[in-house]
């Protein structure tokens, strides 16, 4: 199990690194691999750009810069991993106030 999580972590970061404009065929391979994990009940999530509040326990946050009421996840160090719809690994993220 630990090994699987390690592979998923690395793979999630790879997906992030490839960014949004990845080649269609690469996108497809990514989806295919994720589908295999999904069959095992494992799903990872990259909450990049999502709103952050202190009631979110799906991630552990490092707060960067000034704090205010409108915080956003700006960088991901580790993804959130679910197993059978329960979080087995909290994500590790950087959180910043929205730039005005």
């Amino acid at each position: 199990m630990k090994e699987t999580l390690t592979i998923m972590n690395q793979f999630a970061l790879l997906e992030l690194k490839l960014g949004n404009d990845k080649d269609e065929s690469i996108q497809r391979i990514i989806q295919r691999i994720k589908a295999v994990w999904e069959g095992m009940g494992l799903v990872y999530q990259l909450p990049l750009g999502e709103k952050y509040t202190d009631t979110r326990t799906d991630v552990m946050a490092n707060i960067v810069g000034e704090m205010d009421n409108d915080m956003t996840i700006t960088q991901i160090v580790k993804p959130i991993i679910y197993q059978n719809n329960v979080i087995v690994q909290q994500g590790i993220v950087m959180v910043e106030a929205k730039k005005k």
Binding site: D54, T55, R56, T57, N62, N85, M94
Partner: protein, 836 residues
């Protein structure tokens, strides 16, 4: 007499709770995030109180409202002002919050009333009393204290306590996240005692992380980027490198742990500052460099050992062992250096992060409760009180990512707190004061049914049982008023092992529209470029458990050889995305990853799509199956059914003839008529009680194979126990599967059973003999090379006389190899090209 059983390591940086039961200790995990350790940290955010990991996030950014390391202040008159509440908390109050949170780690509904809590060897009477007080405030009625080095020692040799070799003087060296402690203990026959201790409250793993950043990472980074000002700016609050600093601290801790296993660790991150393009930084740090870096710190800890020696007039020779605990003692250099420099054997046989909690639980497991068990009284009392009532209002479905939940309490006792948590662990409201009316914005997971529980605690932090405290909110996708799918939507895939095709369900009946799903299939045969062969993606509507030909075709994509850019190779991937809109329009897109071709089709449910190739193929399959059924019913002398089947066969044969004259591009309606007639024949055949639908067939096969195996289990007395066990496990594990109506799952199970049967023949001597004798009874035509087989029979006889199981097995294997495949006479179907 009852024992206490529960123990808590109330640490400066991290706390844990463990339980002793039947000779074993279990360390409990946080129900959120599943970590064993809870950071000893409390945050006050507005009206809510947060304990643990979440609280720690705010240490740097909201220092006025976040409190940690208060253990260092236990027993002082120090008060912490909580600005948001305009009130004060004592170190005792804060410790109590941590203890209460740890209570939530304990899965048992009935929380313990007695507890063992560990304290540093350095704690004086006032500090001890303060710790007890914290325990009481957290709702423990009986608090027993235990010194940390003693707890650690207990964890190490709990089982060998009376072992003469362990009697004498020991050192316990504890290097954790933020503190360093060393204790000298004596162990004699019936006592373990701390004789002396030393320590530094501000030295631990966190300092090592910082050193890695400033002394190993930053110099390299300066070199690579040419930015000379990083040093001075890096840990400046709100400075340009603040984010980088946090990332580097995380990377440093990761690398540090990596270096506990490997010789080198990678440092990899993105260097980003405003107005400059981001760049990827990568380099390695070596264990050697790390060891050089931390050597002075470790030597510094050894000075304390010397102090203890001097004060007690001891030398290394007087010490039996040094026990290492605390996460930082995992570092190989620490282990090596301490051993080498003191010359004392080093012991690190238990998990250094949990040893104190584990030891506390061992101690608790032997400690008799002085407190009478009050559980029964308590429950009588509460029964007299009126139960708490709860009414909750919220939207059951939403497209938003958060939802406001309000709740009204009745009969709520004084000073209760409440907390809302999401079942998957992704949301926690924190602890809040409960009043008659409460309201909370809960966060939702996208496209899921979100389950929440409202937990209510009394003043002693005992959870009250509250009816209606579970709520469910559905986010996204599932709109409550959406249209539902009237029948299963399937694609047809090959089951070449059984010489047929099956319906594989994509969307089940009653799913709510719109729907979208992508499946991946592998080609079950090669399709040559330019050939007339084709890959058929057949979208069916109907029932997933019947044969595809009895289902309605609602869309088909036929990709033939002439459309291919290169050969489509066996085993390559086909990605099929199926989308059904709310108006039931179906779009199918198929991507052949091997040739990188995409085929998109939108099917309107008002039209019909018929592939002539497919139609012919299906009629052929139908003919085979009807033929087989006729044989079967004749075996049972069921002439009535046989004649009915013969009629169907006649109809089918006419259809085959008609279909052979169809041509692509024919404009008339003939193919629609033929398709309709075929479906009618199929439906009659599969539904009229002939009962050889693929599902029924499989079930029957499974049933009879299972009966056979059961029989062997009961009547053969040479079945090894391991085989019996394996069988029982398999049957229990697949109990639900056997009731399934899904051909797919049944097939998987059948294959498992068959495989197991094979294994039995290998492992049960009497069964192998049966099998051998059975083969001897077969006729010549059942084998390929009968001459060879006859010789093998002779050899087998001899092996049997000698009761040589292995030899007989080897012979049988050869005979099996010569047996003819019984299915060869049946005409093989070609299938769709999609593997199952």
């Amino acid at each position: 007499m009852e024992t206490i059983d529960y123990g808590i390591d109330l640490g400066t940086t991290n706390s844990l709770v463990a339980k002793y039961s039947k000779g074993k200790v279990e360390v409990f995990k946080n129900p959120v995030g599943f970590k064993e350790t809870l950071p000893s940290c409390v945050a006050f955010r507005g009206e809510r109180i947060i304990v643990g990991d979440k609280a720690r996030e705010y240490i740097v950014k909201d220092p006025l409202n976040v409190f940690s390391a208060f253990k260092r202040k236990m027993g002082t008159s120090e008060k912490y002002l909580i600005p948001s509440l305009m009130s004060y908390y004592s170190p005792i109050g804060l410790s109590a919050m941590v203890l209460k949170e740890l209570k939530n780690f304990i899965p048992e509904v009935q929380k313990p009333s007695s507890i063992v809590i560990t304290i540093p060897a350095s704690f004086d009477t006032v500090q001890c009393n303060a710790t007890k007080e914290a325990g009481k405030e957290a709702g423990f009625e009986e608090v027993v204290l235990l010194q940390e080095p003693i707890a650690a020692s207990l964890a190490f040799f709990n089982e060998k306590m009376n072992d003469a070799g362990s009697l004498g003087k020991w050192l316990v060296y504890d290097l954790g996240g933020g503190t360093f402690d060393i204790a000298l203990i004596t162990i004699d026959k019936d006592e373990m005692r701390v004789v002396d201790h030393e320590g530094d409250n501000f030295l631990g793993g966190v300092d090592l992380d910082q050193m890695i950043v400033t002394q190993l990472i930053l110099p390299r980074l300066k070199e690579i980027t040419g930015k000379g000002d990083i040093d001075s700016l890096i840990n400046q609050r709100n400075g340009p490198y603040e984010k980088l600093y946090y990332i580097l601290l995380l990377k440093a801790e990761e690398a540090k742990k990596e270096l506990s296993i490997n010789e080198t660790a990678e440092i990899e991150f993105t260097f980003e500052i405003e107005d400059e393009p981001a760049r990827e930084i990568y380099f390695e740090i070596t264990r050697t460099a790390f060891e050089e870096l931390i050597a002075p710190k470790i030597d510094y800890t050894l000075d304390f050992v010397q102090k203890i020696f001097d004060r007690n007039h001891l030398s290394s020779a007087d010490i039996k062992n040094i026990i290492l605990i605390g996460g930082s003692t995992i570092i190989p250099y620490v282990r090596k250096r301490i051993g080498e420099s003191t010359g004392i054997p080093v012991n690190f046989s238990a998990d250094p992060s949990t040893a104190v909690a584990v030891g506390a639980a061992y101690y608790a497991g032997a400690k008799i409760k002085t407190l009478a068990n009050k559980f029964s009284e308590v429950s009588n009392e509460t029964a007299l009180e009126r139960d708490v009532q709860l009414q909750v209002a919220y939207n059951k479905t939403t497209k938003d990512m958060e939802e406001y939940v309000t709740a009204l309490f009745e009969n709520l006792p004084e000073n209760c707190t409440y907390r809302m948590v999401r079942a998957d662990g992704g949301y926690d409201s924190g602890i809040k004061n409960a009043s008659t009316k409460i309201g909370e914005f809960v966060l939702l997971k996208a496209n899921a049914v979100n389950q929440f529980t409202i937990k209510v605690y009394d003043e002693q932090n005992n959870e009250l049982s509250v009816p209606n405290s579970k709520i469910e909110i559905t986010q996204g996708l599932f709109s409550l008023y959406g249209q539902t799918l009237p029948e299963d939507i399937c694609i047809e895939v090959d089951d070449l092992n059984n010489n047929t095709t099956i319906s594989e369900v994509i969307f089940v009946r009653n799913s709510i529209l719109p729907l979208k799903k992508t499946v991946f299939k592998e080609l079950s045969r090669t399709i040559k470029k330019g050939s007339t062969d084709s890959l058929i993606i057949n979208i069916l509507e109907g029932n997933q458990s019947v044969h595809p030909s009895a289902n309605k075709v609602i869309g088909v994509i036929e990709i033939n050889g002439s459309m291919l850019e290169s050969d489509l190779v066996y085993g390559s991937d086909v990605e099929i995305t199926l989308e059904i809109s709310e108006s039931r329009e179906i779009s199918v897109s198929a991507v052949l990853t091997f040739t990188n071709q995409t085929f998109n089709h939108i099917f309107n449910p008002m039209e019909k799509y018929i592939s002539i190739t497919k139609l012919r193929e299906e009629l052929k399959t139908l003919r085979n199956e009807i033929n087989l059924s006729i044989e079967k019913v004749l075996e049972n002398d069921d002439y009535e059914k046989a004649s009915f089947l013969n009629e169907l066969l006649d109809v089918n044969n006419t259809l085959i003839k008609d279909a052979s004259t169809l041509r692509d591009g024919d404009l008339d309606e003939r193919k629609y008529q033929l398709e309709e007639q075929k479906r009618r024949v199929a439906a009659q055949f599969y539904n009229v009680g002939i009962n050889n639908s693929p599902v029924y067939d499989k079930k029957e096969k499974i049933q009879s194979l299972k009966l056979y195996i059961d029989h062997i289990m009961t009547y053969h007395n040479d079945v090894p126990e391991t085989i019996k066990e394996e069988y029982n496990i398999m049957i229990t594990a697949n109990h639900e599967l056997m009731k399934s109506t899904n051909h797919f799952q049944l097939n998987t199970f059948f294959m498992k059973l068959e495989k197991f049967h094979g294994k039995m023949v290998f492992n049960v001597p009497s069964l192998l003999i049966n099998n051998f004798v059975y083969m001897q009874g077969l006729s010549e035509s059942d084998f390929n090379n009968y001459k060879k087989v006859k010789k093998l029979f002779e050899q087998g006889e001899k092996a049997m006389e000698k009761s040589n199981h292995n030899e007989l097995l080897a012979i049988c294997k050869e005979i099996w190899g010569e047996m003819k495949d019984q299915n060869t006479e049946i005409e093989k179907i070609k299938g769709t090209g999609l593997g199952s």
